[in-house]
């Protein structure tokens, strides 16, 4: 397994081996699926759209519907304007969405298609909408694409009428539907009236009903996006996935924002609760305080199994930072913290956490890949790997317990329904981590050390 990976350090500047990111458009597609009655549209070769739909479907095990401009060689030479025009007509005709959300690809970006101009040129049916975002695959990652799509929805649609509507905007970042539900549950518990953008709950975790719905019940409505301009405040989760959207709404409509970390773990959820409380001026309800206290209780109870355990965490930057802080709260050492998405802010945020918790010898890297992560692990071992499916080969090669958290998880089920955020998500993550470590202890125990009580 991964027999060619050697621990010796080697500086690569050109060859990417076993990436920990993918390209922008899939993130834009995911964001667009979080808008109700929206057709995400991939402006490029039809392979892009196929790959992204396949990939999202593999993670969510639910349909990921999207259309494509189906570029041919001709379009690549002469520009994709007429492809988009045809596409828009057909999409509105056949699939009748409320809105089409176009994202570009490396192809249409490279040839310089002017999407603004194209869209202005298109005859959009009354009451329908068409927006676009630029998602050049050769910049950033899928997280960037997600972020861009959110910002573009706002810059196209949101309007400030001058009358505030008393609502908060929740920008959840690139998280699962289960996380979005939990974020909303907490907001409701704190008496906060909100609009979440995007909101893939009810879309990519939709129930079996015996009837396929092209546009399931979930998602932010276009009307809600328009009304975002009248919101009081944005709570934006994750610098990488949500800051651009919040900034856009601020610039366009003057809505201030509070940039919060994705609330994984205690401190970060506390921060969210306090932000909600500051907004609604409500007492934190006992139920929420109880959940929090339960999580603290659990972390104290399990500390003998987690304390000083070394862990490698990889995945998307906002999520990885959240998991990193949570494992630190559990007394673990996040020895290797890696994202494929580029961005110095990731490294400085991770290092700030190392300092806050006083741990030494940890490495954080943005724009890294799993080949390098594996090299580090070979050089100096760890007790646990946390990340998406692509870590499974390393886990097997090095015989290290592995838990799946984040994106993408394409070899397991049900994860997308379950939150990692909030105190409840903390309980789930704590259980996954503790079980993985305890299962390993049981597996490796000599027969005479195999414990009935733990």
């Amino acid at each position: 397994m991964l027999d060619y990976t050697k621990k010796e350090k080697y500086d690569r500047t050109a060859l990417r081996v076993n990436p920990a990111k993918t390209c922008q458009p899939v993130g834009a597609m995911y964001a667009a699926l979080g808008v109700h009655e929206c057709m995400p549209h991939s402006h490029g070769s039809q392979g892009c759209c196929a790959f992204h739909r396949m990939f999202l479907t593999r993670h969510f095990k639910d349909p990921a519907m999207a259309s494509t401009s189906s570029f041919t060689e001709g379009a690549s030479v002469f520009g994709g304007g007429s492809n988009l025009k045809t596409a828009a007509k057909n999409i509105f005709d056949i699939y009748n969405p409320k809105i089409i959300a176009v994202h570009t690809t490396c192809l249409s970006e490279t040839i310089g298609d002017d999407l603004n101009a194209f869209i202005q040129d298109i005859d959009i049916p009354e009451g329908k909408y068409m927006v676009h975002t630029n998602t050049p695959s050769y910049k950033g990652s899928h997280i960037t694409g997600f972020s861009n799509m959110v910002a573009s929805f706002i810059s196209y649609l949101s309007v400030s009428s001058g009358n505030k509507n008393g609502k908060a905007v929740l920008m959840p970042g690139f998280v699962n539907p289960g996380d979005m539900r939990e974020l909303k549950r907490l907001a409701t518990a704190l008496g906060v009236s909100y609009t979440m953008l995007p909101d893939t709950s009810g879309v990519l975790d939709s129930p079996m009903t015996g009837k396929f719905e092209m546009y399931p019940k979930g998602g932010t409505t276009v009307e809600e996006i328009i009304a975002l301009g009248n919101s009081e405040l944005t709570l934006a989760f994750g610098k990488f996935a949500s800051e651009a959207g919040a900034e856009t709404l601020k610039k366009k409509c003057g809505v201030p924002y509070n940039l919060l970390p994705i609330p994984i773990g205690i401190s970060r959820t506390d921060e969210y609760i306090i932000a909600l409380q500051a907004f609604s001026k409500t007492e934190v309800p006992y139920d929420i305080e109880e959940e929090r206290g339960q999580l603290v209780d659990i972390l104290i109870d399990i500390h003998p199994y987690t304390y000083n355990k070394k862990v490698a965490i990889f995945g998307d930057p906002d999520t990885v930072l959240g998991i990193t802080e949570f494992v630190l709260e559990m007394g673990m050492i996040p020895k290797y913290v890696l994202t494929g998405t580029p961005g110095d802010a990731f490294v400085s945020a991770a290092e700030a956490l190392f300092t806050k918790f006083g741990v030494d010898g940890c490495i954080a890297k943005a724009g890294g890949d799993l080949y390098e992560l594996h090299q580090w692990i070979k050089e100096d071992g760890i007790d646990l790997i946390i990340g998406g499916t692509h870590g499974k080969h390393i886990a097997r090669a090095e015989d290290i317990p592995f838990i799946r958290a984040g994106f993408p998880i394409i070899d397991r089920y049900i994860h997308s329904y379950m939150p990692l955020v909030g105190y409840k998500g903390g309980m789930r993550l704590a259980e996954m981590i503790t079980n993985a470590l305890m299962d390993r202890q049981d597996r490796d125990a000599l027969e005479e050390d195999f414990e009935m009580v733990m």
Partner: protein, 529 residues
């Protein structure tokens, strides 16, 4: 109105006209079952098709385990092709195996602006340093062609500098109309740079190549197991669980067996032209299909002992699976299926379904050409269009040294006339009257046909699997076998039957409707009135 008309009628006139040509009411039309295929998908239509890169790197090249395959482009394309296609490959002593790795130049904006050759060269240097491969492939993705990186020159330079084989594939995603263009591009380069270079000693005269077998879920291993049991020597498999060394020796076989016609027919033909080895369309999917195939091969080799052994093996293998197959048939008999997949499987699986008493009422290909539908007899009548003309066609000449014939020419001609070799009849001949054949079946049509035809099972891919299942119809992926397999040969038939049966009989289907949907709320006498 017919079902086809019902579906089409909802389209605007332009789309109607286009899509009408892609649908055939089998043997119930005025058009002699003619179908439009291998043409552009209309923009905006939710197609299941992929791109040229997917056909080249994903389908044909991906399984070659000892070629270190660098995808030159932004990261996504390499990422998606990483470990997801289930072309299985065993690690063997002395043969590299890079199947667990994804290599990319991860092009960044400056590379697009200033050109990516420099980064590609550096990536090759790093790959050589770290992995010491004997072969490197370079596959380009969309922007590479547009910015004019000369990957072929880079490949040549690398061959020289590192003393390795380095082959470039200009398989940008926008080429052609589907994965099909990519197959062709891959075929060309392998023919040019690989086949014929080997000098491995072939021990048996019953030496075959297996073409168009990518070992998804281990299919190739099951096929090979059966062939070896009978006494064949498998010289090379294109390209499941293959090494470059295997492929180099393909010219030494005495027959090429073509499983997936669409993806590999170029090589099959060129091998014959250059080396004299005929090809035979085979089908190892389905028990009867496998048996017929085995008998056809024996007929070609025309050896008494081999023919006898063929029958012994068939009888033995059937004996081992008969009970299971009978059981599953008892569970599946009378069910109906729709199949939409790839470029050959939509045909092959009809045989296996037939073995199980399941009738196929709708079938279509994602990237098939007219010959996969109507048979190779239509080849002369297919007019190349702008998209197909853009894909290079190469011609080859007989190789004076390596050209060899297993059978005398007149025998070969006879077999050709019998359509035993160098022929594929397409799907149409095996479809019943009144069933439907639809090319490039798109999402809208899928929904509509499922609603109208109500098949018990929809065989397709991951993108529409859950569309079908949300509407209450079992869907099994025939690209990835839903991570099961093998489905080929004798043992595979049982696996397939088991998987379909469990899907049909999964108790959860009975829970789709919540019971309170049937009972009025105000029933009953208890409660807080």
């Amino acid at each position: 109105m017919s079902v086809l008309e019902n579906v089409l009628d909802q389209y605007s006139s332009r789309v109607y006209k286009n899509r009408k040509e892609h649908m055939v009411d089998v043997n119930n039309n005025e058009n002699n079952n003619q179908i439009a295929a291998n043409v552009r998908t209309i923009p905006g239509i939710i197609t299941q098709r992929g791109c040229c890169y997917a056909g080249c790197k994903g389908v044909v090249l991906g399984p070659i385990k000892d070629a270190l395959q660098i995808v030159h482009g932004p990261i996504g394309c390499s990422y998606y092709a990483w470990g997801t296609r289930r072309h299985k490959g065993k690690t063997e002593e002395g043969v590299d195996n890079y199947l667990q790795y994804s290599f990319s130049t991860d092009m960044q904006e400056p590379d697009i602006v200033f050109g990516g050759e420099k980064k590609l060269k550096k990536a090759i240097a790093e790959a050589v340093d770290l992995f010491h491969p004997s072969t490197i492939f370079i596959c380009s993705t969309c922007p590479v062609g547009l910015i004019g990186d000369d990957i072929h020159a880079v490949a040549k330079a690398a061959e020289k500098e590192y003393g390795i084989k380095c082959i470039a594939y200009s398989c940008e995603g926008y080429k052609g109309v589907s994965q099909s263009a990519g197959h062709h591009i891959a075929n060309n380069q392998i023919m040019r740079y690989v086949i014929g270079e080997g000098d491995r000693e072939i021990k048996s005269k019953f030496a075959v190549n297996i073409l168009g077998e990518y070992n998804i879920g281990g299919d190739g291993w099951e096929t090979e197991r059966i062939l070896k049991r009978i006494g064949y020597e498998v010289v090379s498999t294109f390209t499941g669980d293959s090494s470059i060394e295997d492929l180099k020796n393909a010219h030494k076989a005495n027959l090429s067996l073509v499983q997936c016609h669409r993806s590999i027919n170029y090589i099959a033909e060129m091998i014959e032209e250059r080396y004299g080895i005929p090809w035979m369309k085979v089908n190892f999917i389905g028990v009867q299909g496998t048996i017929e195939t085995l008998r056809n091969i024996a007929k070609y080799f025309n050896d008494e002992e081999l023919t006898a052994k063929t029958e012994v093996v068939i009888a033995d293998e059937i004996g081992l699976i008969a009970d299971d197959m009978a059981y599953y048939k008892s569970k599946l008999k009378g069910k109906t299926a729709a199949i939409y997949v790839g470029g050959s499987r939509a045909h092959h699986y009809q045989f296996l379904l037939h073995d199980l008493g399941v009738s196929t009422i709708l079938a279509g290909y994602e990237f098939g050409h007219r010959d996969e539908y109507e048979g190779r007899e239509v080849l002369p009548f297919i007019k190349p269009d702008a998209d197909s003309k853009n894909i290079e066609s190469i011609t080859v000449e007989p190789d004076k040294e390596k050209y060899h014939l297993y059978l005398p020419e007149e025998e070969i001609n006879k077999l050709k006339e019998e359509k035993l070799i160098d022929y594929y009849g397409g799907m149409i001949k095996d479809m019943a009257n009144g069933t439907y054949m639809v090319d490039d079946l798109n999402h809208f049509e899928t929904e509509e046909f499922l609603k109208r035809l109500k098949p018990d099972i929809f065989f397709s891919g991951i993108k529409d699997k859950f569309v079908a299942q949300k509407s209450g119809i079992l869907s099994r992926q025939l690209h990835s076998y839903d991570y099961s397999g093998p489905y080929s040969g004798f043992r595979g038939a049982v696996n397939f039957a088991r998987d379909v049966t469990m899907g049909i009989y999964t108790p959860a289907w009975s829970f789709v409707k919540a019971p309170w949907k049937n009972t009025p709320v105000l029933e009953g006498t208890l409660g807080g009135e």
